[in-house]
Structures are given as structure tokens and as C-alpha cells.
Amino acid sequence: MSQPLLRVTNVSKIFGATRALSGANLDIAAGEIHSLLGRNGAGKSTLVNIIAGVYPQTEGDVVFDGHDLRKLDIFARQKLGIRLVPQHENSFPDLTVAENIFAGDLPKKNGLVDWSTINEVAAQELAAYGVDADPRGMVRDLSSIDARKLNIIRSMHSGARLIILDEPTTALTTREREELFAFVRDLKAMGTAFIFISHYLGEVLDLSDSISVLRDGLMYPVEDRASATQEHLGELVAGGQVELTRRRAERPDPSDVLVQIRGLRSAGVEDVDLGIRRGEVLGIIGFPGSGAREFCRALFGADRVTSGTVHLEGRLVRLSSPRQALREGIAYISFDRHREGIMPLMDVNENIGISSHAGALRRAWGFLDLKRQRQRSQQYRDELKIKCNTIFDPMDSLSGGNQQKVLVSRLLSTQPSLLILDEPTVGIDILSREEIISKVLELTRTGMSALYLTNDYEELLRVADRLVFFDEGRVASVVDNDDLTIEQLTQIRDSNKEAASA
Amino acid sequence: TTGGAPASGGAGTASGSKEIYYSTKNSTEPVHVAMANGVVNAATMLGYQGKVTVAEADAAKQNDQLNNLVQNIQPAALVVNPYDSDSVADVLGRAKQANIPVAVIDNKANNAQVDVSVLFDSVKSGQIAGEKAVELLKEKNGSESGVVVNLYGEVVSQVFKERSQGFEQVIKRYPNIQLVSVLGAPQADKATSALNNVIADLKSSGKKVDVVNTPTDTATLGVIESLKTNGMWHKVGQPDHVAVISHDGLGDILHQVKDGYIDAEVVIDVFGVGGIATEVLKAYPMDGKPVPTSGTFTPQGKYLNTQVTFTKGDSGPTIMLDPVLVTASNADNPLIWGNA
């Protein structure tokens, strides 16, 4: 083989006091899919941002197709065919779907933007990638999944030669992942190379030709690709054995109902009756639009409840707002970390404390107990191993996974009776994931109950006591998790769907 | 430095300063620039240094500046042109306590006692303009009838208010004169737009403007353009001539008077107001004497007013300066500030 398409040699990056990368090396050939693994804050995003030209490296070389990229800015690199798909916030909500696909490179006729071509080609590409959206509609009105797919379509349509996908599959359903992988493979067949970042070891093994692991800023290529297993990769990522957390055998007492929900209705939720047992982890399953997520949000008061009652410990709770829900002992972690989670300008300490302002941290006259706040933040930082220099680091200097741990800390510190987790491990490395899960399980042993909503069924089956399947805004069935397999789970889910449409 | 302790006796000033300060209300209009020059020139003539602070059309700022002057700088004398007549009373009281001779010029100071006030009679200016307008109508239409447009100024200005008041007082005496009163000063573009609209409005009822009065020359600049665009800009004496009467004495407008386009300009003694005030301060309080409330005063400098009369006003001794009506015949008088 001659020159690789991309060669990264000895690249390092220093952010102020943080050394994010020290001497990374990487070779990628045309048509190769290379996966990057690593713990949160290992430097994956940093490396791909350097390759794409979002920011410069502190030292080292990046060569693409014989061009020294050091001298080229992000625009020149795009002309060479390097395209980055960052995970979030990458669309133009007030522009049409079609324009979003072509933004930055609009087709023109006689020097003017050629709208008819744009709309036609966009319609074709949307159809080809299975996105059901009106090219003339605003992106603002798309579901977040469709908006994410749009991001990917955008970089694929323009003859890219190296596409970088930074955690593209977080919160995608299995089917959506399969659709995505199908067009990644199509493009690979045409010679496009990929860098693929993910924390899901299964899909990495499934998709990639080669794999590297980043740990502590250093890069370890996985030598024996053919014989690599999930366990092996997990050890490489974590730097040791990873113990998978599992639910204990004994089940919570069915007669000890902590939360009783009757006739709950809200946007997308039709008449839900459900009892949640004390100390139980209740898995929630449903396709987008099935009402699963909407149910969780309604229960937290984030979406308006139109009718129905919720009793917690036999007490009728008001669900007028998230604040009220927190006061009643119900806490929620949103799937949308950036919009509904982090306070980017505030430090870690304040991000952890913010939901306790009206609770544990309150003192007379509206003052806050700042000393207590610091102690608690310190405690959670240690327990959940949040990677930061001090608790006074600004939130936006943390890597995505560590930001998620801060959010978990925030809600656990309100000492909720019911914790609602909506994709709590999105973008979290395998070790951190187990840390978060075991923390949640530990708390259920002291009487807290949890609703657990995730598309990662493997994870769900490890933690859930029972599973609730949602369809068309209603509870379709409730099943005890007696060593169910993923196949059984998907079968129940799909048969519910069929029963409903029959 | 100056300790702020007032000298006993009251003769002269506490500080022995050789500076006379003029606190002007704004520096955007040429009138005020000339007025400041009147003070500075008189101060120089009297052997002092003339200095100026500008309040940039803001009462609070002027207060701040006057406080600084009274408490910290303590000049030999202070000439004040209040931006707001009511809000300088307190600080002028402090000046009195600090034994700083004070003259108020142009705008009076309410609720304060100062050594001398030298003021323009703005109502009288308006009246003179009104009488001229009536005279012009009579010449043109044979009787006291026709359409008169008064472009009044922003109401925060006392001078504009009084000039309009005097003007409209006179016009309203004649039932056959139609008075159109509209906001169109001091900005030139405001005047152009306002007059354009009035002309269009009148046109739809078959009427025409006979006389336009503005309270200030910057607005008149806009009036000229409006008349030009509407094809109504003709020399005095031509049949379609629209008479224009203005106030102040800006050079460009005086030229139009000389050239026979603008009928009349009511000119105030801009150099005189500051100059005479400074001379009176020097002649009386700075010399340890009280300013009289009757009799006359003959200033050394050359001003439109060659002799003035002391009267007793609300704020103490007062001199009212007479406005001068300027037409083509006397428009090149060098004592008019706009000709300097």
C-alpha cells in the first residue's frame, strides 16, 4: 500500500492547564472505517477537531492526501474533502431542510442561488436516506433525530473523502443505527473513509475496519482487529477489568407502591395508569412518538399535564412545573444535555448545586449555604470520579461525559424519591457508565425508585426490575424482567405495535 | 490649593483666580458657540482668562459641572446659561455662599438670586416676527388674511416656546389669518418634512402657504429646501414668493436676507449677552459693589445693544436685551454674530 489517505503523527494538544492529547498517531486509508474509543475526556473530540481544523494542535503533523494540513484552515480542508459531523448543535433551525443540506455550498445558476435544484436534490437525498421530511419545511420543526440525520446527510452529499462522525449514534434507536450504518457502508464502498467515535463497543466491532483506543492522552492501536471482543476493548478503554453492574436477584415488594399514576394525559400521552414500586428500577421502552419520553416529561412537570392524578407515598402531588416536581421528590435528567442540562458559564460546583437552591442549600432570607454546597460538590466529584481540576472549573471546559456526571450529581443531591433518567448514559464511557449505574442502584436499595429510559437495551436489561412498553401514548404492556433477552424484548415491543394497528 | 473658606467682607473673590468660567448648555448650535465667544472675548478684554464648560443639553450634567466649578475650581466669576431654568437653583445658591460672582444669561434661573441676569426677550422676538408677518400679508394680499405656518420647536426649549408664543399671540389677533402650527424645529430635516407635509395638506384643500415662521435658523435651512422642492422658492417681490421669517442670525440665513429670498430675520444680541454680563460682573460684584436695579449701563465692547437698562427681576438685577429686526437693508451689520 502506498501513502495512507490520512496520517497523524505525534499530535499533542494542551488546553491551558489540561493536556488533552500527547503524541497521537493514526493512519487511515481510503475506504477505511476507523473507530476511536476512549473514556470521557480521553481526547477523542480534541483529535478529530484538530484533524478537521476547528482548532490547531500544540505540536505534531497531520497529512491528508499528501497535503500538510498545518497550513490549511477549515475551509481549505473541506475543499480537500474532510467533513466533521459534531454531535450537537449543528443545524440552522430557521432555514429550510433543503437549505440546511446545502448550506456553505449552495448550487447556483447565473450567479444566483438555484432554489429549484436545491429543493429537488434535497428531496432525493432525503428519500435515499429514509428521512421523511419536507425539504421546504423549517429545521426548527424537525424531530431531534431527524435533525441529527440531516447533519450527517449534509456532510455526505458533497463528495467528502473523509467523514468524521463524533458520537453519531447516541440516543438513536436500533433501527435508526442500522439505517445510518447502511449508508456509511454504501459510502465506504465508494471509497470514502470514516473516523467513527462511539462508546458502544458492539457497534464499533460491527462497523469498523480498524480501531484505536485513547487513554490518558495516549493512543493505543488495537493490533489484532479480527479477534477483538467487547471484553477486550472494554479492558483497553478502561485500562483494566470492567465489572458490569447488575441488578440483584431479589425483587422489590409488589405491594409497596411508591407512586400511583391514574389517567395521566398530556401532549402525546393518552390515559396512563401505572404503579411504581418502592426501590424499583422501571425500564421504559417505546419508539419515538410512542409517548415514553413524553410520559417521563409529564411526570416531571416539564410538559403540561392536562388530566390525571399522581400519588407519591399516598400523597397527591402537583405537577405544575419542574420546580414543583423536585419539591415533591421527583427528579429528571433530560436526554438533551446541552439545552436542558448544563449551565456552561457556571462552575462544576454551581452546576451540582443549582437544583438544591430551594431545598437543602436554602437558608433564611433567601441566602444560600455556600459551604454546604462546596462540601456536597466535592463529595459527588469524588464518588462519581468527575474529571476536572477543581470543582471551580467552568462547566464548558469538561468533556461531554463528565458533564453528564455533573448532571447526575445535581439530581442525586436533591435526594429524590423518584428519579427519572432519560438516556442517562448518552456519550458516557463504559467505566463511567457503570459508575453511574451502580450509584443509581445503590440508591434504590435505600428506597428510591427510578424510571429508566434508554435505547440501549443491553444496559436496560441489566438494571431494570420491570419493563413498561409504550405505544400510541398508552401503556401497551408491563413485563417482569426475568432474564429477558434483547430478542424477547424487541419481540414484545413489535408485537405490541402490531396488536395496536390490528 | 483653595481651602474653600469664603473670604470675609465679600469684596472680590475668595480664590484670587484669574479665570472666568462660562457654563453653556450646548455646543451643537452656532448661536451658543458665538455666545460663548462673547464671554471669552469680554474676559480677555478685562484681563482674565475665559473658559467654557458644555452641558451637552443635559440638566444633570450641567449641575455636575457647576458643582465642580463652585466647590473645586472656584473661578473669579461664573457666567451661566442654564439648560434647565429650574434645576440650577441649588447650585447657584452654593455659588453665592462661596462668594463667587454669578451672572445668568440667555435663560433665566428660577428660584435663585444671582448678581445679574442678562436675558433676551424671546416673547418680544416672537411678537416682532408676528408683526412682520402681518405686515407682509397686508402687502401681498391687501388685507390681514392668508395662511401662516409656524414651525414650532421641541417644547423642552424655553426660548423656542416663547418665540412661538409671541408669534402666535400676534397672529391670533387676526381672524382671517389661518395659522398652521406644526413641530418642525430645530433639526433641518424635521423642518423640511413638516413643511412638505403642510404644503401637501393645504394643496388638497386648494390653499397655499403665504408666510413661514421658524424659531431658529437651522430649521430655516430645512424650510428653504422644502420650498425649493415644491417649486415655491422665489425672490421677494415675485408673485409666488412665500415669505419666510426666521430667528437667530446664522450667516447663511443673513445671506438669503441680503439676496432677497428671506424677508426678515429677528436677530438677538448674541455677542452682547455674554459680553455685557461679564462686563457688569467686573464693574460691580468683582469690584465689591452690588449691581443696581435701575439706571443704565454702557458696555465698553461693541454690541448690538449700545446701552442697556437695569431692572429688578425675580432673580435680582436684570437686563433685558432688545431683539433687532433685520431685513435686506441692515443685514450686513458686523455686530450680528452671524456676520462675524
Binding site: K108, L112 | T192, G222, E225, L250
Partner: protein, 322 residues
């Protein structure tokens, strides 16, 4: 059934076209009180008086679309007009003097743009300071007096007539049409919306964000210079308080016209409607002969009403789509 849905349609329509409906209402009410409001003379006056405001409103909108703001449009207009007039009085031929004005406006825009992009300074405060500097310089150079006696050729567009119709509204129409094309059909225009909508995404999409921003500032300055020329011609002078009547109205026209202050959203037709609405209010208040001390209040209340109606429109839009 049909009654309900047609009622809904009418509501939809009125909400989407609130500013235009307000405009028609305003004209109607003015005409009711004073029928002469419908005369050709006054209606063409409105267009004439809307021209300077309209150019300045597009100028500020170019920058508001970025999510920034340009508070120096009026100062730019005044200072640029001044330089051109001084150059003309010093002997420069009129067409070149006009060119000087427009170039000076663009240069000021360039300086704003460079400061905002390269030094990452906040636009609001930068342009606020720039406006103070420009108005201060205007004052310092004129020494408080006015430059008048401008030649007719300089004033031709501002005061001239073409086939009996004033030339100024033609400028309004041409410029609005041109910018409609620029905003909707050119790469620069679309990049402007993309950058305003999501600068980070625009950067990743390969749009030269800084260059687009600087371009927007330069065009904003250029239009301000153009407005300065026209206003100088209209009032026949460059005065030291040049254009201050427009200061508040410029933002109001753009925002009432639906240009979102968070960037990335707006249409030229909206800006036109906002401009005309404000001008009609101005002219109307003047012609109705409202008592002098009440004029500011009446004007303020009208703008306030327009803001509230605009807010209701947006609220209604948000309700409908969710």
C-alpha cells in the same frame, strides 16, 4: 365548520401580516381624521420621508441578521455626508464627492466589522462608542455650525423629480428590490442568514464566518453613507445634529418589520412595512396637529402598540406550531 375554519384562516392571515394590517389601519385612521391624508401629495411625501429611514433600516438589519446590532448607522450617515460635502466644497466634482461619502460609510463599516470579528468585541457597545466618536467628530469639525448651500446636482436625487414623481421613492424601491434579491438569492445573503442562525454550524459548514460578518458591516456602512447623502440633499445641509431624529426609529423599523434581534430571521418586505408604518405614524401625528407636548407620548404609544401586536403575532405563531 367552514365558518370556523375560514375564521381561523382570517386570523392566521392577519397574524402573519400584522405589520401590513397595522400599516393599512394607521393610514385608514389618519385618513378618517384628515381626508387630505389620502392626497397624492401626502402619500408621495410619506414615500419620500420613508426613504432615508428605509435605507438606514436595511443598514441596521444587515447587522441584526447576524445577531449583532449596529448603533452607529446615524453617526456614519452624518460623518460620511460631512466628508463628502467638505471634499466638494474643496473642489471635488459632485459625483466623486458622492463616491467619497459612500466609501467613507463603507470604511467605517469595515472598522466596525474588523473590531467585532477580529477583536471579538461586543457589537452593541462597539457601535455605540463608534457612534459617539462619529457624532463627536461631526461636531468638532463643523464647530457647531452647518454646512449649507449645497449645489443642485448634489441634491438632485433627494429633491429632483422624474416624470413629475419625486426621485427619492425610486431609490427606496430599487434598494429594497436589490436587497430582496441579495437576501434571498445570493450566496452572501444566504450565508448571512446561516451565520446569524448558528455561527458555529456555519463555520463547520465551511462558511467564512468572519468574512460574511465583515461584509455585512461594510454594506451596513455603505447604506448608511448613502442615506447620509440623501438626507444631506433632502435638507440641503449637513448640520451638527445630523440625523438624530432617526436614532430610535431605525431599530424600531427593523424589529417591528420582523427582523429577529437574535439573528438569522427577517425579510425585506417586513423591513419595508416597518419603515412605512413608522413614517405614517410620524407624518400622521404632524398633520393631525396634536398638541405639542403630547407628540412624543403619542409616538411612543404607537410604537409600543406595534411592539405588543408584534409580540402577540409571534406568540400566536409559536402556539400554532407547537
Amino acid at each position: 365548520m367552514t365558518a370556523v375554519s375560514s375564521g381561523r384562516k382570517i386570523l392566521d392571515f392577519s397574524m402573519n401580516n400584522a405589520v401590513w394590517i397595522l400599516l393599512i389601519l394607521a393610514i385608514g385612521i389618519m385618513g378618517l381624521f384628515r381626508p387630505s391624508f389620502f392626497s397624492v401629495g401626502i402619500l408621495s411625501n410619506i414615500l419620500v420621508q420613508a426613504t432615508v429611514l428605509g435605507l438606514l433600516a436595511i443598514a441596521i438589519s444587515m447587522v441584526i441578521l447576524l445577531g449583532d446590532i449596529n448603533l452607529s448607522t446615524v453617526g456614519t450617515a452624518g460623518f460620511s455626508a460631512l466628508t463628502g460635502v467638505i471634499a466638494m466644497k474643496a473642489g471635488l466634482p459632485v459625483p466623486l464627492a458622492i463616491l467619497v461619502i459612500v466609501i467613507m460609510g463603507s470604511l467605517i463599516g469595515l472598522v466596525n466589522g474588523l473590531i467585532v470579528t477580529k477583536l471579538r468585541a461586543n457589537a452593541l457597545i462597539t457601535t455605540l462608542a463608534m457612534n459617539m466618536v462619529l457624532q463627536g467628530a461631526l461636531l468638532a469639525i463643523t464647530g457647531g455650525s452647518s454646512l449649507s448651500n449645497l449645489p443642485d446636482s448634489f441634491k438632485f436625487v433627494s429633491q429632483g423629480r422624474i416624470a413629475g414623481f419625486p426621485a427619492l421613492p425610486l431609490v427606496l424601491i430599487v434598494v429594497f428590490f436589490l436587497f430582496h434579491i441579495i437576501w434571498t438569492r445570493t450566496e452572501f445573503g444566504r450565508d448571512l442568514f446561516a451565520v446569524g442562525g448558528n455561527p458555529r454550524a456555519a463555520y463547520i459548514a465551511g462558511i467564512k464566518v468572519d468574512r460574511v460578518k465583515i461584509g455585512a458591516y461594510v454594506i451596513s456602512g455603505l447604506l448608511s453613507g448613502l442615506a447620509g447623502w440623501l438626507l444631506a440633499g433632502y435638507m440641503g445641509a449637513v448640520t451638527s445634529s445630523f440625523g438624530t431624529t432617526y436614532e430610535m426609529q431605525v431599530i424600531a423599523a427593523a424589529v417591528i418589520g420582523g427582523v429577529s434581534l437574535t439573528g438569522g430571521r427577517g425579510s425585506i418586505l417586513g423591513v419595508l412595512a416597518g419603515t412605512l408604518l413608522l413614517t405614517v405614524i410620524q407624518v400622521g401625528l404632524a398633520i393631525l396637529g396634536i398638541q405639542q407636548t403630547l407628540i412624543t407620548l403619542a409616538g411612543g404609544l404607537m410604537i409600543f402598540a406595534a411592539v405588543l401586536i408584534d409580540a402577540l403575532r409571534n406568540l400566536y405563531g409559536a402556539r400554532r406550531s407547537s
